[in-house]
C-alpha cells in the first residue's frame, strides 16, 4: 500500500520543505511473498527518485506476523520505512526483498499473519499526522492481490471502510494497485468502497480506470515528472472588451539533464554560490544600480540604463491578441521555431470563458481554420505570433482521454528567422526509380508513436547515477532505441537496396565516398591541430586599421586575444573583433 502527497503546482517554488510523500504498504500474505511484489516497490522507489526528488515516501506492510509501528498499537502492521525522502539506502533495503532470497528475508523479518486493513489504514493516517510539514497532496496506494482481504469478515471490512473514508476526508487519495490474481481481481467485492472515486467526474467528465496500468510501474524508465501547471494565465482578446481567460501549457519540451550541484570536496556537502560585483580599482562592492549596459557599433559605445534595455523589449501587456483567421493550408510545415504551447480556458478567472472557447474551438475545427494571434507571455517580452490550431477531444473505448480539447499554439517565424538558401539544380528521379523507392518505403513501414523513443543520453545519465548511488558494479544496460535496426532492415529489403542502387548510381560511383577528403592519408583522427600561427602586433594593427579583422577566423581571433591579453566575455565573432579593436586602438 502506498501513499503519496505530491506537490501542488506551485509548491516547489515556495519551499523545499514538505514536498510529496508516498507510503508503500503492500499486504503480505503467503501467496504474496513472491519475487513480484518487492520488485514493484523498488521500481516505485527508483522512478520516484528520478521523477520528483522532493516527495516523501513510506513503505508499510500489512498482514504481517511481526508488528513494527510507534507504540506497537497496531497488530500485523509493519512500518518498513517511515515517511521520508527516498534515498539510495532505501532502494537497497527494498532491493534486499527481491527474489526468492528476498522473500525469505521478508518472511524472517516480518512473517505472514492476520490481515487487518483497517488497522493498517489507521496506522497510515498516523504517519500522515506525524508529519509536521504541510503536504499538498497525499496519496495512498494499496498493493495487493487479494480482492477479499479479510476473507469475508464483515466486521473488519466495515472497519476498513470507515478508516478509508476518514482518510479520504482528510484529503488522502487512495489508489488500488491490484496485482495479478488467478481468476481475475474483482474490485467490486470490497475495494470499490475503499478507493477514492474519480475526482469531480460530474464536473470534469473525466473517467479513468479504477486502477492504472501496472505495467507502467514495471517500466524501468526514468523521467522527471512534470506537474501540470500553466506557464502563463492570460487574456485571449478577441476584440476590444472581449477578453477570454486562458491558461498556456507546455505539452512537449526537450527534457534535459538536471543541473549538477556543487559539493565541497571534503564532506560532499552542497556549497552555495554567491555572485559579487565589485569595482576593480576601489574593490568596493557594486549594486546593480552602479552599472550600465553598453553595445559597441561602428566604433561607438552606446550606453543605456538596465531599465531601458528591459523596456525596449516591451511592446504590449501580456496576453493573446486575435489578429484573424486563416485556412489550415496556410500553416507551413517548415514554419517551426520551438515547441508549441497548449491553450485551455480558465473559467476561474473569467466566467464564461469556457463557453466562448468551446464555440471557437468547435467552429475553427469544423471550418478547418486556425486563429492567428499575437502572443506576449510576460511583461517586457517581445511579441511572437502564434497559429492557434484547434484540437478536438478524443477518448478511447474506456472513455479515457487520449487527446485533450484546446488549441495548440504554433510559433511562427519572422522574416529574420527564415534563411535564404542557394538551392542546387539537380536532375530528378524517373518513374521507375521512384517506384523502386516506393517498394523500399513499403518494406520499412512502421507505426510511429511519439512516446516510442527514449532519450538514450538521459537514460544513460540516470542509470549512471543509480549505479553510483547504489554501489552497483556497472550501470544497468540501456537499449538505444534511436539506433537503426540494420539487420532487420537489410533482411526486409532483401535485394531491393541493390536494385535501387543499380537504377540510380553508375557502377563506378561510391555513395559513401568522401567528396573532399579532409585529412591526408597517414594522419590519425583529428587529434593534431594546425600549428599556431602567431600574428605580429603590426600585422594585427594593420587588420584593425583596415577594419578587416572580420576576415580572420574565430580561432585565430581567440588566439590573438590571448596573445595580447585581451579579455573577452563572449565568444561571438563580433565580440572578439570589438574587444581586439578596442584594445589596439587605445
Amino acid at each position: 500500500m502506498g501513499r503519496e502527497s505530491s506537490c501542488g503546482p506551485y509548491y516547489q517554488l515556495r519551499t523545499q520543505k514538505g514536498g510529496n510523500c508516498i507510503v508503500g504498504i503492500p499486504s503480505l500474505s503467503s501467496q504474496e511473498l513472491t519475487s513480484h511484489l518487492p520488485k514493484r516497490r523498488l521500481d516505485v522507489y527508483t522512478s520516484k527518485i528520478i521523477s520528483s526528488d522532493k516527495d516523501l515516501v513510506a513503505l508499510v506492510f500489512y498482514g504481517t506476523e511481526q508488528s513494527k509501528n510507534p507504540r506497537n498499537s497496531f497488530k500485523h502492521v509493519y512500518i518498513y520505512h517511515d515517511l521520508d525522502l527516498p534515498g539510495a539506502r532505501r532502494v537497497q533495503d527494498v532491493d534486499g526483498l527481491r527474489g526468492e532470497k528476498g522473500a525469505q528475508v521478508a518472511g524472517e523479518t516480518m512473517g505472514s499473519g492476520n490481515t487487518n486493513l483497517g488497522e493498517a489504514l489507521w496506522c497510515c493516517s498516523n504517519l500522515y499526522s506525524d508529519i509536521k510539514l504541510r503536504l499538498s497532496h497525499k496519496r495512498l496506494m494499496i498493493f495487493t492481490c487479494r480482492d477479499t482481504p479479510h476473507g469475508g469478515d464483515g466486521e473488519r471490512d466495515r472497519q476498513a471502510r470507515t478508516k478509508a473514508s476518514d482518510l479520504k476526508e482528510t484529503g488522502v487519495v487512495i489508489d488500488l494497485m491490484h496485482l495479478m490474481k488467478p481468476g481475475g481481481f474483482d474490485v467490486s467485492l470490497f475495494f470499490c468502497d475503499v478507493v477514492s472515486p474519480p475526482e469531480d467526474e460530474a464536473e470534469l467528465g473525466l473517467q479513468m480506470e479504477p486502477c492504472g496500468k501496472l505495467e507502467d510501474l514495471q517500466k524501468r524508465v526514468r523521467a522527471k515528472e512534470m506537474k501540470k501547471r500553466s506557464v502563463a494565465r492570460l487574456n485571449l482578446c478577441l476584440g476590444e472588451g472581449m477578453n477570454v481567460a486562458v491558461g498556456v501549457y507546455i505539452t512537449a519540451l526537450q527534457a534535459r539533464k538536471p543541473n549538477a550541484i556543487k559539493l565541497y570536496r571534503d564532506n560532499n556537502e552542497p556549497v552555495r554560490t554567491k555572485t559579487r560585483l565589485y569595482h576593480t580599482q576601489t574593490g568596493s562592492l557594486l549594486l546593480p544600480s552602479d552599472t550600465k549596459r553598453v553595445q559597441v557599433y561602428a566604433g561607438r559605445q552606446i550606453v543605456m540604463e538596465k531599465d531601458e534595455v528591459d523596456v525596449i523589449k516591451k511592446f504590449s501587456d501580456p496576453g493573446l491578441e486575435l489578429i484573424g483567421f486563416k485556412p489550415m493550408e496556410r500553416l507551413k510545415l517548415h514554419h517551426h521555431l520551438r515547441s508549441a504551447v497548449f491553450i485551455y480556458p480558465e473559467e476561474e478567472m473569467v466566467t464564461g470563458s469556457a463557453c466562448v472557447f468551446t464555440a471557437l474551438l468547435r467552429r475553427c475545427s469544423e471550418r478547418n481554420v486556425f486563429a492567428l494571434c499575437k502572443y506576449t507571455r510576460i511583461r517586457n517580452s517581445p511579441p511572437r505570433f502564434l497559429a492557434l490550431v484547434p484540437q478536438k477531444e478524443e477518448v478511447d473505448d474506456g472513455q479515457a482521454q487520449i487527446v485533450a480539447p484546446g488549441f495548440h499554439g504554433i510559433f511562427l517565424p519572422y522574416a529574420d528567422d527564415i534563411r535564404t538558401l542557394d538551392t542546387p539544380q539537380l536532375p530528378t528521379a524517373s518513374e521507375s526509380q521512384v517506384d523502386k523507392m516506393k517498394e523500399i518505403v513499403h518494406k520499412l513501414r512502421f507505426k510511429y508513436r511519439s512516446d516510442a523513443f527514449e532519450n538514450p543520453v538521459l537514460q544513460q545519465h540516470y542509470r549512471n547515477l543509480e549505479a553510483l548511488a547504489l554501489d552497483l558494479m556497472a550501470p544497468e544496460h540501456i537499449e538505444d532505441l534511436t539506433m537503426p535496426n540494420v539487420n532487420m532492415m537489410d533482411q526486409r529489403l532483401g535485394s531491393l537496396a541493390q536494385e535501387f542502387r543499380d537504377l540510380v548510381y553508375p557502377a563506378d560511383y561510391n555513395p559513401e565516398g568522401k567528396t573532399a577528403p579532409k585529412r591526408k592519408p597517414g594522419e590519425f583522427c583529428g587529434t593534431e591541430k594546425k600549428p599556431k600561427v602567431e600574428m605580429s602586433e603590426d600585422e594585427l594593427r594593420g587588420h584593425v586599421q583596415k577594419g578587416n579583422l572580420g576576415k580572420l577566423t574565430v580561432p585565430v581571433l581567440k588566439d590573438a586575444c590571448k596573445q595580447f591579453g585581451v579579455k573577452v566575455t563572449g565568444t561571438k565573432k563580433q565580440e572578439l573583433i570589438d574587444a581586439l579593436t578596442a584594445q589596439l586602438t587605445k
Binding site: 501549457y249 538536471p258 576593480t280 534595455v309 473569467v350 463557453c355 518505403v441
Partner: protein, 581 residues
Amino acid sequence: FQQNRCNEYSPGNVLVSVNPPLLEISGSCPCVLPNKDTLVLCLDVGFSMSNSATGQEPPFQQAKKVIQKFVQRQVFAENKDELGLVLFGSDNTKNNLAKDDQYQNISVHRHLMIPNFELLEEIQNDVQPGSQQADWLDALVVCMDLLQNETLGKKYERLNIVMLTDLNTPSSPDQLDIIIGNLKRAGITLQFFLPFPVDGGGSNPPHGGKALSREQQQGLEMTKKVMMSLDEEDVTGVCNPDLSVFKRVEKRPMAWPCTLTIGSSLSIKIVGYKAVCEERPRKSWSVVDAQTHQKDDIKRDVVYCLNDDEETEVQKDDTIQGYRYGSDIVPFSKVDQDQMKYKTDGKSFAVLGFTKQSMINRHQFVGTQVLKVFAPKDDEHAGVALSGLIRALDDLKMVAVVRYVYARNGNPQVGAAFPCIKEKYECLVYVQLPFMEDLRQYSFPSLENNKKYTPSEDQLSAVDSLIDSMMLVEEDGEKKDLFKVNHIPNPQYQRLFQCLHHRAVNPSVPLPPMDPWLTTALQRPLAVATRCQAPLETLKKKFPLKEVVKKKELKTSKELFGNSCLGTGRSTSLAELFGNG
C-alpha cells in the same frame, strides 16, 4: 525596365531600379554569398529639391530620410560594404573632374568608406539644400569616376550607384551612349529614387502634385533609356515598402554534409542547411561602470561558501559536482561523467523506418530549427537518388523517421524528414520529434460533455460571423494574404536598432517612442478591424463574460492547488505519478 511601387520616398512614388535593388526584403535575395558591395549615394541638393506643393514634404527632405535610413542599416549591419556620398547642386565644388566650368557644383562629400555614426551625424547636420543646380548626368560621371578610382585593385561583389533627384535640371543627352557603355563595362548597376510616379508614361500629372516640368519629362526619358539598356537580366528586384526596416544581418548558411542511410547497403550523399531558426542579435549587452562607462572597472566574482553559519568560503578547486538522487546527493565528477556518458560515434542521418505523415503531430515538433536536406551541388547521382526518395514519400504521403546526430558526441535526435517538392527544387525537410521524456501527457476536463460550456446554435453562428469577418486570406480570386508573419521583420530588433541609433547620436536624450509603422505592422489589419466591428458586438452580447474578483489569499493548499490543477488528482494516471508518462 522594372518599375516598383514604393511608398517611402513619397506616397505613391516610384523607385526605378535595375538589378540589384537598393533594398532587399528578406527572402527575396537569390543567394546569400559572402559579398562586399560598394555603393555611391548621389544626392541632388539643388534648389528645385526644396520646392514642394503645399502640405508635402520637399523632395530634398524625403531623399534625406531615405539616405539616413539606409546608412543606419548599414552601420548596424556592420558588414564590410563601403559607401560614398556625392552631392550635386551644392554651393561648393569638390571633385577630381572639375576643371574650368566643367563639373561644377558637384561635391564628393565622402569617399568610399565603411559607414559609421560620423557619417550619420554629417548627413543629419551638414547635408543641406543648396542654391545651385547641376546636371545629374555630370554627377553620374563623377560617381563612376569615384567608384573606378577608389576600387582599383580591390575585389567587390557589386558596384552600385543610387541617384536621388527630381530630374529638374536641364541635361545634355549627347554623352548618354558613352556613359551607358562605361556603366556596362565597369559592371556598375544604377538605381533611381524619384519623387514622382513614372508609370503612365511620365507625362501625366502625379495625383495631388504638380505636373512634371519639361526638364523632368526629358530627364525621365533619358533615365528610362539608361535603365533599359542596362537591364540585361530579368529584374527580380523587390522594393521593400518600408525603408525603416533594418536589413537583417545575413548569415552565410552553414552546409552540413552527411550521408543518408537506409539499412547497411543504401546510402545517399546529402547536405543539410538550417532553413528556419530563431535569429538572435549578433551582439549582447555588456555591463559597465555607471560613472566611467568602462567595462574593465567592473569585475564579477563567483564565490562558493559552505552552508554553515559563518558562510565559510571555499575555493573552487575544492568543489566537485554531484547530482541529486532522492534524498542523497551523488558525487559525480566531470571526468567520470564524461567517461560514463552516452556517446555517439559521428554524424548520422539514418532512416529508422517510414511512417504515414498523419502519424506525426505538428504540435509535437520539438527542437529549435528546421533543416532542409539536399543532395550535394555537384553530385547528380545523389540528386537522382534523393529525388527518388522525396517523390516516393510525397506520393505515398509518408515521412522518413531518422536518427540525426550533428557531430561526434553530439546528442542523438529522432526526427521526421518530410518530402518537399517546389517548382524550383526538391528537398527533405527535417524536424526534431520528441523523446518519451519530453512529452507531458496532461489531461484536461472535457469541454464537449459539459452542459455549462456547450454553446447554443445562436452562439455558434455568432462565432461563425466573427470568423467570416476576420478571415485574413480572401477566398475569392487571388487569395491575397493580409497578414504574413514571415514578412514582418522581428520587431524586437527593429526597436532595438531604433533605440541604439537614437542613443548613439543623442546620448543624453530619452529613448524615442516606437516607430508608428512598426506598431501598425503588428496590429490587426485595418480592413479586418473595420469589418469585424459588428460581429464582435453581437458576440459580446451573446456570450456574457465576467471577470472573477480575485480572493486575496487562498489559505489552504487544497484551495490553492485544487483549482489550478483541474483534472489532476484522482485522474492522474499511475504513469504520470511515477513519471513514466
